[in-house]
Symmetry: C2
Subunit: 335 residues, 2 copies
Amino acid sequence: MRNANRQLKLKSRPVGLAGPDNFEESIAPIRQPGDGEVLLETVYLSVDPAMRVWLKEDPGYVPPVEIGDVMRAGGIARVIDSKIEGLQTGDFVAARVGWQSHPTLDAQGLHKLDLDLGSVEDWIGPLGTTALTAWFGMREVGAIASGETVLVSGAAGGVGQVAGQVAKLEGCRVVGIAGGAAKCAFIADELRFDAAIDYKSEADLTDAIANVCPEGVDVYFDNVGGPTLDAALANIRLNGRVVICGRISQTAADELYGVKNVGLLIGKRIRMQGFIVSDYQDRYDEARRWLSDKLKAGDIKQRLHILDGLEKAPEGLTMLFEGTTTGKLAVKVSD
Amino acid sequence: MRNANRQLKLKSRPVGLAGPDNFEESIAPIRQPGDGEVLLETVYLSVDPAMRVWLKEDPGYVPPVEIGDVMRAGGIARVIDSKIEGLQTGDFVAARVGWQSHPTLDAQGLHKLDLDLGSVEDWIGPLGTTALTAWFGMREVGAIASGETVLVSGAAGGVGQVAGQVAKLEGCRVVGIAGGAAKCAFIADELRFDAAIDYKSEADLTDAIANVCPEGVDVYFDNVGGPTLDAALANIRLNGRVVICGRISQTAADELYGVKNVGLLIGKRIRMQGFIVSDYQDRYDEARRWLSDKLKAGDIKQRLHILDGLEKAPEGLTMLFEGTTTGKLAVKVSD
């Protein structure tokens, strides 16, 4: 196996949820790096909702993963052999490694980890792209201010848990929406959100939000879309902001949910805005320093949900959309 | 009749379209102005989509018009008798006069017309609140830039015709959506929009927009909401803006239309924002000077649709929602 690059390739485009049936494993020889390239050993793979979008024939903002391609994925890897200046054997990098054990990549998109900021696990978690998404989405797009009421959906997920904690640290009152008592206990008790709403146990989510936010919501950070967005919109205050970060309820849906409360944007002067974290690429260092400081001070907690083995990656993608994970989902590929 | 203030009062809350059945006429004695008040003779009443919203039990952002109240309406009036400093008999003012011939009002919300900027008719049209709505919505909320492609719905209406012309004058390519060949001819031939789409004759509005905007739309100025908003969203480019100004298709609808394309905000980084013109009240003079200059230079054309007589106001409200008016709708109450 020493010369084997294990790969998981797209076999068929998923209808509905993506999962093991849509991928097949194969072995390729490890390719030695040429000039300007690096041979890596994948350590962690990040599992993110956006990956389901990349599997569509027309994702809209990036090219699709084609049938027969190694599945696209970000992750953390160890340098085995480097023909890139400044990278040495044993260094760790964040990269778009894909679902494979031993990728050979060029320098583009490689980021050498500064382990003074945090551990390798921290770099998949609270210093990783998921956390950066939360940080820029909440601060730059949401433009939160101290004293405001912030509502986060998918609050126990990878982005949501950091988004809520960032808002707390900025002096906001934070309410999280999550599915099930365990997730709600996690965000209320461990992450110290001010309130948690279990959407699975509420007859009317609009009323449930109104009950814990009687004066309304200043910023809604949306990770799920669908009817939750409508319920949140019904509770937004004057000059409120809606951060459209994700829409996991819609990504694999047969039919898109129609949002009825868009008209409220007028009277309430609501700004609703979408973003992609890579728009802020030139400010990643600033965000990572902030997150690292809070992490070292014990002010940010991060739960990782780790699956063991490359072969678990497709199952992870299913679990993400079934809502059976808590915290940031990652696959451990090697030690 | 000399001591008679003709009034139209709300008799019943409309279901669906508002019209003559919902109002009743009565005569009140003219009230002489006390200190700080002015007696007016209404000249023009503005008829605007927002008025239908004010008739709901809970308009959301302003108090409702109650049963038995004189219908709320903006307009232009002549000063008959003034106990307000700086206002004299014969002056013209813009004010929230309501559906009545001889209101007695206090100074709040009164604006003395500067007839150097334009005529009394101009003040109901291209210098009036409708035009200001278009100007601030397009420039401040839409943040248009020269060379961009701008799409306007309700393009032959009071706001739409000015919105499109403002964008043209700022160097944009402007496409209008309107209902019927006559309105489309008006915006293309008279207002010189670059293209007009007759939504009534198109099988698929999304495709129709794509055909005339093959590279997409930078700014969509929405006066109608509903399925038109979905069709526009499907055509918005990267970093596009959607100005939610009005939603005449939804205001009197039995059931709200669900907007399916909200998810596109993410990948396209779209900003969708609502506003109310009065947020920009302290900058009205700046906008009026701009509009007056363009008007005098012949660079802005304005079509008024005038109904004759106070008693026509309820019918006007119906016509507005039936789409049977072209240009800015107003009721002439006196000469």
